[in-house]
């Protein structure tokens, strides 16, 4: 796991670099002699860079035993979930909130949980109905009206 910790340290170092760059060249460290909008972010960027270096240094030892980040394709289900959610967000405006909910829940149960078609469809439609009743009717959330509903 040490190698992955070092990767995390490098990513944090890059973030720190961006924060420092923005604070120095885009924002102002000082404004008429007083701390400006870039003052605290600059300090935080320096601190983050220091901590990132510490993470890299404290995890510099080679792993005694190689530990996979995702044992036995454990990444697959989270990735599928992220894809399903991404499709939901893209379809949200066009298909409408409630329709997108029905599709998301049905797809989730079919693809991720391998449930039977009728179970997935029934749960999806029921969830869509609950969302419509609770959020649109009760809480009056102005969902976008899409192609279908």
């Amino acid at each position: 796991m040490n190698s992955w910790q070092r990767v995390a340290g490098v990513v944090l170092l890059i973030v720190a670099g961006v924060v420092i760059q923005q604070s120095l060249f885009v924002l102002r460290l000082f404004d008429q002699g007083q701390p400006g909008s870039g003052f605290m972010p600059f300090g935080l960027g320096i601190l983050l860079a220091f901590l990132a270096c510490l993470i890299i240094v404290t995890h510099r030892a080679r792993d005694a035993k190689r530990v996979p980040f995702w044992p036995s394709r454990a990444w697959l289900r989270p990735l599928l979930a992220v894809i399903i959610m991404g499709v939901y967000i893209v379809a949200f405006d066009d298909l409408g909130a409630v329709t997108s909910v029905v599709i998301l829940v049905t797809a989730w149960l079919l693809v991720l949980e391998k449930k039977r078609v009728w179970v997935a469809v029934f749960t999806g439609v029921s969830t869509g109905l609950v969302v419509y009743l609770v959020f649109e009717r009760l809480l009056m959330t102005p969902f976008p009206r899409g192609l279908l509903f």
């Binding site: 923005q22 924002l27 605290m40 601190l47 901590l51 959610m85 949200f92 949980e113 959330t141």
Partner: protein, 501 residues
Amino acid sequence: MLDFGGVLLGFQVAFNPVNLLWCFIGSVLGTAVGVLPGLGPAATIALLLPVSMKMGSPVTAIILMAGIFYGAMYGGSTTSILLNLPGEAASVVTCIDGYQMARKGRAGPALGVAAIGSFIAGTFGVVGMTVMAPPLAEFALKFGPPEYFSLTVLGLLLATYLAGDSPLKGLTMAVMGLILGSVGLDPLSGAVRFDFGVPDLQSNIDFVTIAMGLFGVGEILINLEQSEAASILTTKIKNVFPTLADLARSGWAMVRGALIGFVVGILPGGGAVLSSLISYAIEKKVSKHPEEFGHGAIEGVAGPEAANNSAASSSFIPLLTLGIPGNASTAMIFAALLIHGITPGPFLLKEHAPVFWGVIASMYIGNVMLLILNLPLVGMWAQLLRVPYAFMAPLVMILTLVGVYSVNNSVFDIWVMLAMGIFGYLARKLKFDLGPLLLAFVLGPIMERSLRQALLMSHGSFGIFVSPSRPISAVLMAVAILFVLGNLWAAYRAKQKAAAA
């Protein structure tokens, strides 16, 4: 001195039928959340933030969320005892002896002692809060910008060191939270920061988006890695009322747990988990039969369960009186108060006394409700464990996706939430604690505003934070510095010992 007028006002507010109903709903939801592994109180409160915004009254919203928080402490013991699976992080320790008691056919008394201990300690915590909160709020009126900066620094340091396994990673997450909190408009100068040309980033990232992403989406993604565990509930629950002998053995453990939880709960980052661990360690040390621990010692259930409930109550003290949340759940409640236009802190008692006392009084009532829900009705909660996670996960996901949209009617917020969910998932994989990030996100604006105001007062001199003219700030800063140095020294000594061995 006890403010009886305030307490009476509080009960008047809490006994309002609407508030009573939401207190009950919060207690039920909290218990359910505590029973079900995979969904903690912080995530649930995050999911309900959009709902709370639609509630007309802020005190009703806070009563609901407080109910969820301390309700989860009650419910968490159920799965710990029946399935050796902690329903909530603070109930991890209860697994050790609680499950062993269940295996010996004593699940009922274990559950009973857990519920009674939770009630006694929870009530003790609320009484302590009633007594301590007003004088602390009065004291906090003396706080100015230097004091608030020093307090937020100390609070974040304590939270990062005490809350997780790795202070280095905790501190890193805290700094990330502070940076995330600075995205958008600078509150003092109005300059736009870190928008990278994206118009939606010019207004600050919403707390609800961050919270639901990290704790809602992130939690589900982590749980998806495991294929559904077939946790078949086979334990039979007979007679939840403990015997007199059980009560005699566990009585003092409950008292000690209540005291430990109360003190530790006030500390930022202290909270329910740490207090339950400390309580277990102490019970084992003082027990006449320490060899029984790990094999079904009833004190090993009573003490930690009392501690976590007392801590849940006392963690409201710094939130309500100083405006400093000490853990992720109280950070959510802090945000909910801000959403309703109420700033937690020393002026809360003066300007919003019904909210202050109403929340405290509702906690007395909530503890009674929870005792009733958890003692005779524990069998009903155990049935919840039969609901497959396969159905819970998409429902929770829908709640997060729809809920975050309902806050600002912004699709961009949903994308940010998804991004935070992926970040939270990867951070957990790498064993980075997310609590400090959320705390820092909430405290960041207070910290920056206080820092810049203090430097304005001192014409740019950092000495104001340790100046004799600001003794409160100086003491807080000294405690923070000593705390860091103490931990560094302890780590150095541990490394030396390891090298010598």
